[in-house]
Amino acid sequence: MINIQPYQNPEYFILLVIGLLPIMIGLLYGRRFRTYETLISIAFLVLTFGGVKWHQGIALIGYVIFELLLIGWYFNYRQKHNKSWVFCLAVILAIVPLVIVKLTPLFDFGKESIIGFLGISYLTFRVVGMIMEIRDGMIKEFHPWTTLQFIIFFPTISSGPIDRYRRFEKDYNNVPDREKYVKMLEKAVHYLFLGFLYKFVIAYFFGQYLMPKVDALAIAHGGWSVWVFLHGYVYAMDLFFDFAGYSLFAVATSYVMGIETPMNFNKPWISHNVKDFWNRWHMTLSFWFRDYIYMRLVFFMMKKKWLKSRIAMANIGYLTLFLIMGFWHGETWYYIAYGLFQAIAMIICDAWQRFKEKHRKMIPHNKFTEAFAIFLTFNVMCFSLLIFSGFLNTMFVVH
């Protein structure tokens, strides 16, 4: 039994084109072949989670059944009652599988959990988002079938982008009109080829060609050297082009299926500050954290009147958001240090903006200051990704 990981090799893309062709023809003539779409999705899931990875497939099935039951149960409960502790319980239950998967390597000598599978994080984000919107009363109907399609939507299953249920549902239940769909196809082709350039040319150059050379020089030199910092930049480029390329494939595939999955990146390297960066980098994740963790925490603190200072509340929000993001990446010192670094960068960025607001007249604003802002943000972010890459760990901790 063969196993092909999504968007990794030519075979996958060839199968994708063949599989999507009937869907495309259907949508062009105003029809959505739901049964066929489901069968194709299953086929691609089997391709990813079958063969040598069959145990991941089992874990995925178990996970999906559990989460569907949980959403269904909470939806039914919410129609009659609205207790906070039940809501909390539902969220905790929803993230329990992910927490187990993330903590298992820590307690079991680096072994992977048997309930883990590729993309569990992204599925959990979608489920938690749904539960929160059910609590808010924004999701008014529960359709197990559409929910299932949403959770395991195959183009985005392994690493997002993280869609929102209500947005997905609207697309899924409709067929775009022909003019719009042709525009989507045009974009899809463009994204697909941009993705090829990003992932298989540029990311390959940085990751496979440049990085080993830089790493060898860093290790040969030993200790802190310019090569260590250079690793951060090369890693940042590799990560961006690899992930942005992957995201473009996922969005392109979604478009062909008539689903407007949101974009994940928007030219992050021209960001003027850290906040701007997070509005452009891995956007669906940062918006998810913003909407479901940061905003809710800040509102909660305001409602309970824990603190008077809005600034302090915002800062606590940042720390919480980015530390959770750090822990979510993995239980190692460098992911957590990365989270802390981002939170502090955010706090400083806010403080600077308040300062600038107050002293408008004294601080110049022109092309040069803007260029400097971009330059500074770029370097700060590349340094944060140097922490994130774990290279400091290999250089200074492991041996």
Partner: protein, 428 residues
Amino acid sequence: MKLKKKLFEIFGPVVCAAVILIAILVSPFNFRSFNSKTIREAAVSQSTNIFKGTVVKQKALEEGYVPFMGSSELSRMDPMHPSVLAQKYDRNYRPFLLGAAGSQSLSQFWGMQGINNQLKGKKVVFIISPQWFVKRGINKNAFALYYSNLQAVTWLKTAKNTLMDRYAARRLLDMPSSHSDKMIEQCLLQVAAGQKLNKAEKVYLDLKYNELIHEDQLFSTIGMNDRVAKIDREASKLPRQYNYQKLDSLAYQLGAKNTTNNPFRVDNAFWNNRLKSQVSKLHGEQAKFDYVSSPEFGDFQLVLNQFAKDHTNVLFVIPPINARWAKYTGLRMSMINDFNQKIKYQLQKQGFNNIVDLTNDGREPYFMQDTIHLGWRGWLKMDQAVDPFLSNDQPAPEYHIDNYFYNKSWQMMQGKKLKQYLQTHQAN
């Protein structure tokens, strides 16, 4: 009508690109030839893409280049380097350097797939590094640097159910790089188990071969190190007329000039970059090094077996180790001696009698460029054997391969057992 036009605008270029790409990759046509300038560059570039490929090597060997197989010593390009000497004194051969840091016997064996036809009845110079023969054999990452699926596909097309081929398949399967293509992996498993490949697999290998050979034609010369100017520069330091005495004293001077900042007669740059900062840690560090018991002896047997199959006449070079450095690091000369006896037995027993054994020259000043790599006077001494071997006609060698050398017991044999074995067998 409008829809069709619009769709054609969107997908027309994609379909065209796909059709052209597939036609290019799968078609059996050759659509690139290499000019002599490219070949000359490739011969001294030591680029991994050239090593992994086939077409450039084939072309070069057809034009009379002689493979110099080895590893990191090949990149020590001083005026006495074989590529420089051959060019300066307009010898009737030009070296094609095959190998760089980390290319050991197994890499060399797989690197020969694709040029076996060109090696038939030809000559090769092969530099053996004792340092390859470590307990664990070739490093898997180093192997990955020099391995390509093209090597495996080329080989699989002619693999047979022989001990040699089963051994080669098994060794390749030990390496993670052979698992990148599931079909190739499956074919290797079958060859390792002595099974025949089926029709579908053979068709797959043929198509895959076309695809990979085209990639090789198009891309293998990208990113080559251009060392031609470097070779020219080194050549300009040599006297116009070849004169061994003069060259030797020049090599002596160059060595003395370049090894002034350390007591080991190691090249200044190498000393500064690689040794200086950790020299105290390296004191006595090699006392336990052992090159006598290693799976590398089995991999080396694959190379010998391939040479025998191709009837290639090979000159083997066993370089020494910088004696001052060996003494400082505590490397045991008795172990080196055992290695030497063992490798020479494996060679001579099977009829590989052209051996340049430099093991005892480690004390000669400026023989080595650094710790373990030949340089200045070492290259020149090697040339004393290489030049006549390549420039003059040689009697055809007679090889008789002994499969015993694939045995684990031979690979691991050391100490008293090895001594006894060599005594009893050399007597006959």
